[in-house]
Symmetry: C3
Subunit: 677 residues, 3 copies
């Protein structure tokens, strides 16, 4: 439970009443109550309203608003309002504005037009945070602090002169001596050696491929620059209101910030999820992934779905509407994946501005006549029936390793081919998701005790110490799957010499000599040992030399004909699989699913394709979430399982039928839920 | 008649003899006479020649040229020569150069490199105009003034610091108080509130979606900035030569300028039309549309086709040649749509420079051996036979509403989908064109008395007062067709709350709750009431709630299954149709054609596909233009129609045969031309 | 022989040991000896290492390295190290950094970040060159000077203010009077006349099409700016070491530099060749072409393949590996086309930096276990068997005219269509290559005595004096093929008035009236006289008027129906063919191959498709290179040819079988090699 003030699943959204005359506020409260809303985020983009000019604060409206909400029984997630600096600050110091790698300045008129290293921005934003904390820290409506908003969303990295100076200082602290930097960056290549820190630039526009270590360090530096902003605000909040939960909202597929680092500094994690509901896009997978990612960033605190849309967003070329029922289903999916709250951007659709066509809980049309608002009410009712689920958790036996450093390095260009790390993560995730196996994302170095199957997709940047971390776990019985192009460079972006994969050569029982990347229209045939079926490698293939491992599948053509494509190595009590090529999505699911099954990692039930299952547990209570993502009704056997559907209050037995986009949340009776083979 | 000096259809082109030694000039006059040219535009890009440095004018060459032309019997459309500032002016004041939203300066070396708000440009250009007006205002060759050229063509909007200052002044005048601006722009959203005018920027590059009202106001401001330039020149010309017709040339599909505003300030309208003659592109539709648009921008003055190409342009990736005969046909098409003159860019093909491969009336090869020049002579002969057509007009009963404000707002992004307003206008125009129904474009607020059918495509930005304007006309018997996504915001870009289409909810007899935009690969089936045929909606669909209107067609699948897609509402003596989705081009033509037919709006004859018909009338004389756009000969019955083909002098009766790209201009005898069912 | 110090084919690569600790150097020498390496390029990107700050040189490491190499028996191609300025120089004078046409500065972090007109760069680089020349000019390891590296590779043209000033000076020297510039640039068009030199800009970003002569002159100016750098370095080298060969490496398809001008200033030519080995790309044609181009740039000096990759590059989106054997085959292909040396970028694969995934002779894995290093050793062995080939040359009877001026002008835009000159050159080259006919590229004005067939693809920019040059040769018996869009403008980019092709109208026996360019999806049918087969023109067609020439093929449809598409004109002892359209690649090969055959220009043997043949001759010795580019074994008859395969030492007779990617180098016995019909 995030706060004792709200002993329920959170339900609500961003609330921006400053866009409306105050006569609308009363109706808002009434509609919130009608929809069982209990929690709203206030003030996210209110800096200019709260502080109309330097040194002048206007809190009257917010005083009134918080009182109103409190009287209405609605808790407040109060924003620090620093995500978009006011116009007067830009005028006072134009260096607040950020610059991209081309030296292009970004101007006011939208949002987030600030350089994270701007002193003016830092000082002014902190003054605002302190004023807010002091004024509202003891307000009874206050439930939590919402720090800034979607850090790095539209402007992931600034390259201005101020950033250049900060980068030089950061490098000097990191490396101490310029010689160390030169060695680390490999500046002997292309005549890049630096004699003084002052000679160094951010990786701005340059004639050809940038120095990859310079690039990687800049991504580290920018992550830290934003993190420093976050910490600066949190320090003030903790100082003034030490007990109040703090949080900032993530975006699950967001590359610029190392969310494992950030997650550790949250009292609860949260994220904004906007999968494309276009038929055929399988937005439910993106949604599941987003929830599991966010949950993984800090596994010891609660997780909340901070933003989603009720109907359709406004920023795609074509903004598909969620089909009737789909918004409810995806909301329940968040809970199924561990969310302790389901929130929306935003409460009431704006009349004006750049997001007026972004769906909201209360649309432009009369709520009573609105399909969307009726569904919002229905969802409020549904969530209110799930109080028992609060504080329950997901039990996972499968992990997928995710390293932001690797993400930054792998996609930086100048590689055997261009890589999309996120698509590789997602492909492996999808394979397990389709088998209804719950998954954690795991950062290198994290405790692996609870996992039985760990997948390491293309961990190109591989620190030496990670080898030991994996070795211990496999030795004790873990089953590890490592995929192609792993263990190639260290944290300096220097090659691990002596055969690719060198740091885990013993673990893999092999080394890699060379690569053949494939174009989209290229396939290379292989087959599993003992099978005649033709399989196809895509995207990337490798020449593997066995050194203890056994071949499971071999190429039947191409430059690596007869060489292994998939291997297994016994290591202590465990096993290590190495997959030296990308497979089709279907084959990846097939072999990974089979492997999980063989080691006893199994779904709670056998269900038709398109039905998602998860289990949340609390003590000895178990809640089985059944979600039908199909547009058709599905029915399936429950086997020996008996229980009660919390959404309907009905007992279920023998079989379950779910209408299109239907869901059930079954609390098991007597713990009969057993795994099936 | 634009000028009594030329009691004929204008025929000629841009004439730039300053690119040639003066010995060529004599041959030019001789060839013009051979081709029956009677009107040329002179000096369009001659500023640097006329004023080689500040304060120094050189008119000697132009004196000689105008005398020569006059002696040759050729009238002059004298340009004010301000479309491209000379190099010395840029050197004197580099701020003359314009900047795009990225802060990118555009340099000399091509043309139109000026900021419309540059004081240096404004002062210098006006000094030139005054000098020209005073020197040539009484010259007997002078027929009209050609102000600047294609305003905004290559540089539709400047974002420099000078423009920023002017924009602030413009806003201060428009809104008076900063609070009003804040309310109008909806700056409560995203912390955009302004405390001082000086804090405001043009909508330069920004991190994400710009404030839409800021954007819209900037488009208004830029339109006015250019218009101020135009007015500044015209003021001088009217001062010095109050009787002389003034004009600037339009480009029909040009979005940045509100040509209805501009048209009102022209003594005749004119335009430059360059449809792609590539087979399959149906350039004849673009041509027809361009003529009708320009004619519509000021329906009380004559219209002229100011520029077209004789053969092929030079600025496409592949510049298809007009097929033999096609240049003549498209020239006659302009007359068929009301043009009082047919002109070309340019008279003689340049030897050097960026447009030397742009076709001309006199090509690079010897005129006597040139197919193109022979066709030019033939066209001169044709036009000389059409003197009777002069001062006749097109009678239209169909109108399509076009609002530039709506164009700017609709395509500004952050919408349920991206829209192309022009393609929606063109699709409805094409439907009527294929039925040979003459069409006007109508600006909201214009007198509708003469129209029987009015189509309003996607009038997203809808001012409240427009509702009354439509209501009165429908009440009196008009038949109105409104298409999807209309009546959504007001002129501030604020949502009309209470159901989309709210300002004309009574007129439509319905309101719209929500939208489902479609990807290019998506279709949603519907069928007309009483019909079993499957129809398909594309692009955009809407959930309609009837409030008095009747359904004509309903969805048979999708989120809006069973809801109406097409409706009709009786209103006073008239009817209002609402089309809540886009149809295929064929279906749009079918149902719109059928509707027109049912209300008695009909073509003068039934003719084969690919034959275009128009009628020009003068008093009780009627001229029927028959144009064959097919590459095959076509023949069709004339029914009871009798008359004389002005091009051949032959009487026609019973049937007409037109060769490929052939045309006839039949003056009716005894007014027998009747509409057929 | 380039240097008596190495009486062998050069074998080696770029050697950058400054990236490695000195203990690796010893192993490098040992491995070089193992692979029979005899020549390495040293110091190409070592400026920052050689001169760590202004005025401070550090030669100790290079002293040691050169001694080591000399002791190892390996010659050195010592770089002047000026291709990438050090960080301290940029800090000292930021104007060293170049700017693109948008005013975008390019920053350090990669390489080649210098403006060629920067005085700081010029002075500092020359000081370095002098220091190197003086220190190492007499070093026994020194074999040649490698000046800079790939001039203009990543930054082909700078547009900064310094360049602007230099451009103005260059123009003033070129034209003397501003009036001459105005006439030449055609500034009467679009009001571009200049009154002072100071008013002129480089062709920076502008609103629309730039003045084409301004553009062309800027390309000339930039070519000369880089050439001035080269000459500046060479002047110092020749001053200090007058006998030492100098060279800079070319990139065959590189457009910005006129390599014929550059080639004349080389003691041997060299180039870097990186064809894409992706199956289906036919990289062997790009390789053959690259070698022949470089050989052609100075036909009187030796040619060397300076850079290629052993396995795969790192800069494509997908970097396909050379298949086993393919690296050897393409290396031998270079020798087959005249190369006197085969070198790689680079010797040892980097551990760090932007090119660490670029293949090398010594890869990241242990050399003894590396397929690549084993192939490198094999190639060293192969090359060591080809010493007899040294100083032999290719005999060519076919030439293809290449003009850089034409390249610059033809692709500058504002044409009847966009053109790719290189693809037109390559298409004609490929036609002859597939017939195993050796080809030179010929610059206009070059001695044509030895050629029997000359192809002139689309020589749009045609200087008047070139007509005489061709006329003399054809008159004496040459067979000339001129293709469409030739002879259109002069060197000022002014149209040759009086029918396109005017300067060679007598030679062609025809003139061209107009053009119909075609879209990719358009075809126009034609047929050869006396043939019923349907042929198709693509890309570009022309209306030809015969004036003495005879039609060989005529259009059977389209606007030029019945007009000739291919003609022949007898002229003196020779013939001139004119091809007024582009043909399909197959047809181009068919008719050009047939033409060559008819005039007795023939391959040495008839061989299966995919087998390449070339002959190198030295006095009366002849070496026949047979290269199998197929992935299958091929066998073919040798006819009467007898000889010895230098690679195997075996006698060959009657027939030859080549394995996949196999090669033979047969020295003819008794000169029996005869041409076959």
């Amino acid at each position: 439970m995030i706060s004792k003030k709200i002993p329920h699943l959170f339900y609500g959204g961003d609330y921006n009443p400053e866009q409306w005359p105050s006569e609308v506020w009363g109706e808002d409260i009434r509609l919130m109550q009608e929809a069982k809303v209990n929690f709203v985020s206030v003030g996210i983009f209110s800096w200019a309203r709260l502080q109309p000019k330097e040194g002048v604060f206007d809190f009257a409206w917010l005083d009134e608003l918080l009182d109103l909400l409190h009287q209405g029984g609605i808790g407040v997630n109060l924003a620090t309002a620093t995500a978009s600096p006011p116009a007067w600050l830009v005028r006072k110091d134009p260096k607040v504005l950020p610059e991209d790698p081309n030296g292009q300045t970004y101007y006011p008129g939208s949002r987030q037009h600030y350089c994270p290293n701007s002193t003016s921005y830092q000082e002014s934003s902190r003054a605002l945070v302190r004023a807010l904390a002091e004024r509202y820290g003891q307000h009874p409506a206050l439930v939590s602090w919402h720090v800034n908003n979607e850090y790095g969303c539209h402007f992931p990295a600034c390259y201005c002169d101020v950033c250049a100076e900060n980068f030089r200082d950061w490098l000097a602290r990191r490396y101490g001596r310029i010689e160390t930097l030169n060695e680390t960056w490999g500046t002997a290549f292309w005549s890049q050696a630096y004699g003084e820190w002052e000679e160094i630039f951010p990786p701005r526009k340059m004639p050809t491929h940038p120095n990859p270590t310079q690039l990687l360090d800049y991504q580290r530096f920018m992550n830290e620059s934003f993190l420093r902003l976050y910490k600066g605000e949190v320090e003030i909040l903790r100082d003034v209101t030490p007990e109040m939960p703090v949080n900032t909202n993530f975006m699950a597929g967001h590359k610029p910030l190392d969310y494992f680092e950030w997650g550790a500094l949250q009292d609860f994690t949260s994220h904004d999820a906007y999968p494309d509901p276009k038929p055929g896009e399988e937005g439910e997978i993106e949604g599941a992934l987003a929830n599991d990612l966010t949950r993984s960033f800090n596994k010891s605190v609660p997780m909340v779905l901070m933003e989603q849309v009720s109907s359709q967003v406004n920023w795609r070329g074509v903004n598909t509407l969620k089909a009737p029922g789909q918004m409810r289903l995806w909301s329940l999916q968040a809970v199924a994946h561990g969310a302790e709250g389901v929130l929306f951007f935003q409460w009431r659709a704006s009349r004006a501005g750049a997001e007026k066509f972004h769906g909201a809980m209360v649309p432009h049309v009369e709520p009573a006549k609105s399909r969307v608002f009726q569904e919002i009410k229905g969802l409020g009712e549904d969530l209110s029936r799930l109080d028992d689920v609060l504080d329950s958790r997901i039990r996972t036996e499968c992990g997928i390793v995710l390293s932001y450093e690797n993400w930054w390095a792998l996609e930086a260009g100048s590689k055997p081919r261009t890589f999309s790390y996120f698509s590789l993560l997602k492909e492996n995730y999808t394979s397990l998701w389709r088998e209804n196996l719950p998954v954690d994302f795991v950062v290198p170095g994290e405790d692996l005790a609870k996992y039985r199957l760990l997948v390491v997709p293309s961990l190109y940047l591989f620190r030496d110490e990670w080898a030991e971390w994996l070795r211990d776990w496999v030795h004790a019985g873990g089953v590890l799957v490592v995929t192609f192009f792993s263990g190639v460079v260290n944290e300096k972006e220097h090659i691990h010499l002596g055969g690719y994969g060198r740091p885990i050569r013993d673990l893999l029982g092999l080394w890699v000599e060379e690569w053949q990347p494939l174009h989209d229209d290229e396939r290379v045939a292989f087959r599993f040992e003992e099978s005649a079926r033709r399989e196809e490698a895509v995207y990337f293939t490798e020449k593997i030399h066995l050194e203890g491992a056994r071949s499971i599948a071999r190429y039947t053509e191409g430059p690596f004909e007869e060489s292994p494509v998939l291997t297994v190595n016994d290591f202590g009590q465990g096993k290590v699989f190495y997959q030296g090529a990308r497979f089709s999505a279907d084959l990846q699911r097939e072999w990974l699913g089979k492997l999980a099954d063989e080691i006893g990692v199994q779904a709670p039930l056998k269900v038709p394709e398109g039905v998602e299952l998860t289990v949340r547990t609390k003590g000895d209570r178990e809640f089985l979430f059944c979600l039908n993502h199909q547009k058709e009704t599905v029915a399936f056997s429950l086997g020996p399982l008996r229980g009660r559907d919390l959404l309907t209050g009905q007992e279920v037995a023998e079989s379950l039928s779910l209408p299109p986009f239907g869901a059930a949340v079954i609390e098991k009776q007597g713990n009969e839920v057993k795994k099936e083979g």
